[in-house]
């Protein structure tokens, strides 16, 4: 691999007694999109602010093209800073300035360019980012997506080598999140900058990232490509995914694990429930990922989750994703035998209604040279009072059988 553009060596940063970065070592490569993920408060923004010099490390070295940034001469430091732009989470546009003035600000204040040259560069960026109609408007008159484009235009007007994006999709709806991420990928290709992103939008952000860096308790828990992350069986990855959950899993529409856990506890606590069963569904995410790529693999998980949710909610069951490719469903008032019958029926319906449509999901490219198989497995177990969810998963996992299959032959379904 090429030499890194930016490198952190044993970087430590603390605020008072709290150590936020604890001996961080990582590399950012030129012309790539590197995404930094991690729990809130894990030091992602702190790390990004070190790259642009808003914060300085207590210990360790940050290198730019092999040169320690803190040891740079003033002229070198200025040259380095001129190559880095920062896109703030809330855009940080100046409300009292028009879109044009906002974009022109860094050129007017930091260069000796003539008025005409500045105007031409700003207008070029305005055109590139399709903001012509908004040039004379103020930021408060624009939609969130347009404001993001203005901030991006301002960040790109100085032709930077590195653009740092601090949670660019936070607070946006799922569709807009994808639009913003696509926009970043598109403009990165167009202008050829190196992008460093902080994002919680798993799995959306994986679609555009070349490399993922997972920060965990002040250290780098993982550093590599998404493909490497996808095949990594590590409790850290699962634990991190759990920490991102809200009431519902955005990808599948299933309950979040936290809500699932409390519902499970109240189900077992009710004396009127004589028998409870559980089923663990899985789709071999790693194999799908290998065969079809992460986008398609996630699309399959999303489709399965969505169908499972709709099917079993109507029958009184409740489900949650337990890892990337495992869905656990609890059936109150149901014996294991009854659950088996329900799942046999579910398997048939799944093949007819959901799996058959997998080929049409985004990211799946089936064809003569690109066939694939999808196996949905299920394991059923009875739940006894006092059973932990982990125990149920282990018991059910040991009893898994194929309940639904999808095979394509020359682009068709067999």
């Amino acid at each position: 691999m090429d030499a890194p553009l930016v490198e952190f060596r044993d970087v430590t940063k603390g605020f008072g007694d709290r150590i936020v970065l604890n001996g961080i070592n990582l590399k950012i490569y030129e012309n790539q999109i590197t995404t930094i993920i991690g729990k809130s408060g894990s030091g992602k923004s702190v790390l990004l602010k070190h790259i642009i010099g808003l914060l300085k490390p207590d210990d360790g070295v940050i290198l730019f093209q092999g040169k320690p940034v803190l040891a740079m001469k003033k002229s070198e430091w200025n040259e380095y800073r001129s190559q880095v732009s920062y896109l703030f989470q809330d855009n940080a546009l100046f409300d009292s300035m028009s879109v044009f003035e906002n974009i022109a600000l860094p050129l007017r204040q930091t260069t000796n360019l003539k008025k005409k040259e500045i105007e031409s560069r700003v207008l070029q960026r305005i055109e590139d980012l399709e903001l012509s109609e908004a040039a004379d408007k103020y930021p408060s008159e624009l939609s969130g997506g347009m404001q993001k484009r203005v901030a991006l235009a301002r960040a790109l007007v100085t032709n930077p080598k590195i653009v740092l994006f601090d949670e660019p999709t936070t607070g946006q709806d799922p569709i807009r999140k994808n639009v913003i991420l696509s926009m970043i990928a598109h403009y990165r290709r167009k202008f050829g900058f190196t992008a460093v992103l902080i994002s919680h939008d798993i799995p959306d952000v994986y679609f555009i990232s070349d490399r993922i860096i997972l920060l965990w308790e002040g250290k780098v828990g993982f550093e590599g490509s998404y493909d490497e992350l996808a095949v990594l069986k590590h409790p850290l990855v699962d634990e991190f995914l759990r920490s991102l959950e809200g009431f519902r899993d955005e990808l599948t529409g299933l309950l979040s694990k936290e809500v699932f856990r409390s519902r499970y506890a109240s189900t077992l606590g009710a004396r009127t429930v004589p028998s409870v069963s559980a089923a663990l569904f899985s789709v071999e995410f790693d194999r799908l990922n290998e065969a079809l790529g992460p986008q398609a693999a996630v699309a399959v998980v999303s489709a399965l989750g969505d169908y499972t949710n709709r099917y079993f909610s109507g029958l009184g069951g409740f489900s949650a994703r337990q890892s990337r490719d495992q869905i656990l469903t609890i059936f109150p008032h149901t014996t294991a035998e009854e659950a088996r019958k329900m799942i046999d029926e579910f398997g048939k319906k799944l093949e007819e209604e959901a799996i058959a449509g997998i080929q049409d999901l985004p990211g799946i490219k089936a064809g003569v040279n690109h066939c694939f198989e999808v196996y949905v497995r299920a394991g059923i177990t009875e739940v006894s009072p006092g059973d932990e969810i982990k125990e149920i998963i282990d018991k059910a996992a040991s009893r898994q059988d194929i309940v639904a299959t999808h095979r394509c032959e020359f682009g068709g379904t067999a």
Binding site: I52, G53, L54, N78, R81, S82, V84, S85, Y86, F88, Q89, D90, A92, L93, F94, L105, P106, R108, Q109, T110, R154, T158
Partner: protein, 271 residues
Amino acid sequence: MEERSIGHKNPLALFFNLVGRKTVRIVADLGAILIFFAIAFVKIFQRKQIREIIQQVFYIGAKSSGIVTLVALFTGMVLGLQLFYTLIKFGSEGVLGSAIALSLVRELGPVLTAIMITARAGSAMAAEIGILRISEQIDALYTMRIDPMRFVVSPKIVASIISFPLLTAFFDLVGILGGYLTGVVLLGVNGGAYLYRVQSSLVMSDVRGGFIKALVFGAIVSTICCYQGYFCHIRNGHHGAKAVSVATTSAVVMSCVMVLIADYVVTSFIM
């Protein structure tokens, strides 16, 4: 540890502890404000400042002239009334012009102008910079290699130093006119005598004293207001909009108090 617990139980020790801590904090704050002023002052002379300074002079100076006119007019009129009825008891209503002119030029002009601009422009400075801070626009400037002290703070301080003396002079003139309205037009003092007394009683040292005070007040008010806004994010226990509101209140209160303290100090030097 033992000493500390004894100290905490002893009311006298508690009192001195409190006073000591407050004093240290005030001195540290004043030191920080002084350093802040020095840094901002140095950056006045950097490039690309003229346009920003002119804009700020317009906002702090020209746009404050309305409120200054109003306050000056009524201050002069009230002074005219009060002094007329006091002086008439001694048969000295002829010196009304002197009394009004000296009160305004030496004392009331600089102080009331400073307080009025603090209320109007000082609070706006603190709030504006505070909002820039909490919305990360100050950080954004830094990331664009624009020095926030040069771009945001320095023009406001230099514009205040320019505007305060001009507005003070304007206040003095309008105040003297207000005194004329009540003294001459309403209460029948001789107009020629009023203006003669104004002219004959004012000497250059009075005008110079008022001018120095206005310069000092301009520097104090703008520095305190900018400082409070700039560092609103590091106030203990206050975040976001609350931090801005607390910073704005502190800026106005602290500016007014410091103007009065500075007024005494400067007066004692020039008298």
